[in-house]
């Protein structure tokens, strides 16, 4: 059943994008085709993103910029609101279940959100072709990162660093699958703060949520358990993306006709995706996401270099 659903969803996704791509070159297309196409596309992105455990905007920005006629400025502005809305809807449950820690979120978010302002300003200054080349390179690199990265469920860490001890970062959560109480802390916080500055710049510059980078840094570098890394990353985005989203909003780079259908589509899709998660095969979905990222990344690179397919 799930296989049929995914096949149909994939075929609907292809049909929608082919229709949209054809419509780009057809001036007589009714205006409402675009927001409707965007709603359907983002709904499907939401399903795939939830099944693969990635943030929607990492798929949203490259796919929408590849197949829709909107300028990249407006897509990046919408991408930040997509990430913000997804984060705001997921974070409360994670925080209330102790799968995210505010004591860990607060120092990381401060540097990431401040640097995302710089990223947003750089992004709004650079020409579109340069941005598309950089976005293509970034998305292709993320796809490669997904192929090779191996998360650790509960990393073993040495003594926490002095800063983590001073800030008393750590906590405990109940692991329902094993019936055990997991106590955790982190290390290498100063180095992680440097990484989060870079993550903030990238998030602001390209309008993507950056959960793809947050989770490996939290899990592999800082030694946070995977569930804490995912929950904390989701809660972080609500703050990191807020600063950059304001820069785009004040600049006028947020068009309601692009942003609202995108936010609604992704939120609805991710809710369906979470329900399908019980029966889906995460590994095969991960391969679909990697393939989608590779295609969107290469297309963005070629677009930026002026190569038409």
């Amino acid at each position: 059943m799930i296989g049929n659903f995914l096949t149909q969803a994939s075929s609907l996704f292809t049909t929608t994008n082919v229709a949209v791509a054809q419509a780009v070159g057809t001036p007589g297309v009714p205006w409402w085709v675009w927001p409707l196409g965007l709603l359907i596309t983002t709904f499907l992105i939401g399903i795939v993103a939830a099944l693969a455990g990635v943030g929607g905007s990492v798929l949203y920005v490259p796919i929408v910029s590849s197949f829709f006629p909107f300028h990249l400025d407006f897509i990046r502005g919408s991408g930040l609101f997509v990430a913000l809305a997804c984060s705001l809807s997921a974070a409360p449950k994670l925080l209330k279940s102790n799968y995210a820690s505010l004591r860990l979120v607060i120092p990381l978010a401060l540097l990431a959100s401040a640097s995302s302002i710089g990223g947003a300003l750089i992004g709004l200054t650079l020409p579109q072709n340069i941005l598309k080349i950089l976005l293509g390179a970034l998305i292709t690199s993320i796809a490669i990162l997904f192929v090779f990265s191996k998360n650790s469920e509960i990393p073993k860490i040495d003594r926490p660093d002095a800063l983590a001890r001073y800030l008393n970062i750590g906590g405990a959560y109940f692991e329902a699958s094993t019936g055990r109480d997991i106590t955790w802390t982190v290390w290498r916080l100063p180095l992680a703060l440097v990484f989060f500055c870079g993550i903030g710049v990238i998030a602001g510059m390209f309008g993507i949520g950056a959960g793809w980078a947050n989770v490996p840094v939290l899990n592999l570098l800082m030694g946070a358990p995977l569930k804490i890394a995912v929950g904390t990353s989701m809660s972080l985005l609500a703050i990191t993306d807020t600063s950059a989203a304001w820069i785009y909003l004040n600049q006028g780079a947020v068009l309601a006709i692009v942003t609202v259908p995108s936010v609604l589509g992704i939120m609805a899709g991710s809710r369906i995706g979470v329900r399908l998660l019980k029966t889906a095969k995460p590994k095969s979905i991960r391969y679909i996401v990697i393939l989608m990222l590779l295609l969107a990344g290469v297309k963005s690179l070629l677009d930026g270099m002026g190569v038409k397919l």
């Binding site: 006629p69 001073y166 109940f174």
Partner: protein, 161 residues
């Protein structure tokens, strides 16, 4: 300093011999984290409802939009700077004076979504003040300043510049 469970030096799983209720009491959420989560939950849904309602008004042709939905395709392929020049779009907070037009009324819900984290952080600031948790008072205070500065419009890039 923290009301969360005590921190061990090494991540670990500990088997409890008690009932699940007792286990869960060990991982109790701190009151400030719980309140922050509640603020995010209520305010984000409020923002989304306002966003949808104003968008329906815009799509329905109400409130005399400055750029009608049917005309937007003429402009959405332009860069944000060219779009501003072509549609005489305001920059910074000047859109507030144009919320009698449906396309700018739409921004109310989005701006509210952008303010939700600040509301949560104000609650955290008060909680950490009560606890006299100086490092977190400082970081939360600085974060509020960062978001307010971003929202203030002082980082605006002039059109054509």
């Amino acid at each position: 300093m923290s009301s969360q469970a005590s921190v061990r030096s090494i991540n670990s799983e500990s088997v409890t011999s008690q009932q699940q209720a007792n286990v869960q009491s060990n991982v109790e959420v701190s009151p400030e984290q719980d309140r922050y989560a509640s603020i995010l939950l209520i305010c984000s849904w409020a923002g989304i409802i306002v966003m949808v309602a104003t968008f329906l008004l815009y799509m329905g042709g109400f409130f005399n939009p400055t750029v009608k939905p049917s005309e937007i395709p003429l402009y959405w392929g332009l860069s944000v700077h060219k779009y501003a020049l072509a549609t005489h779009a305001p920059s910074g907070w000047n859109w507030l004076s144009m919320i009698n037009h449906a396309d700018y009324l739409n921004l109310i819900g989005l701006a509210f979504l952008g303010s939700v984290s600040v509301l949560g952080y104000i609650s955290l600031f008060i909680n950490y003040m009560r606890k006299k948790d100086l490092p977190y008072i400082t970081m939360v205070g600085l974060e509020i300043v960062v978001i307010v500065l971003a929202a203030s419009g002082i980082f605006n890039i002039p059109a054509g510049g």
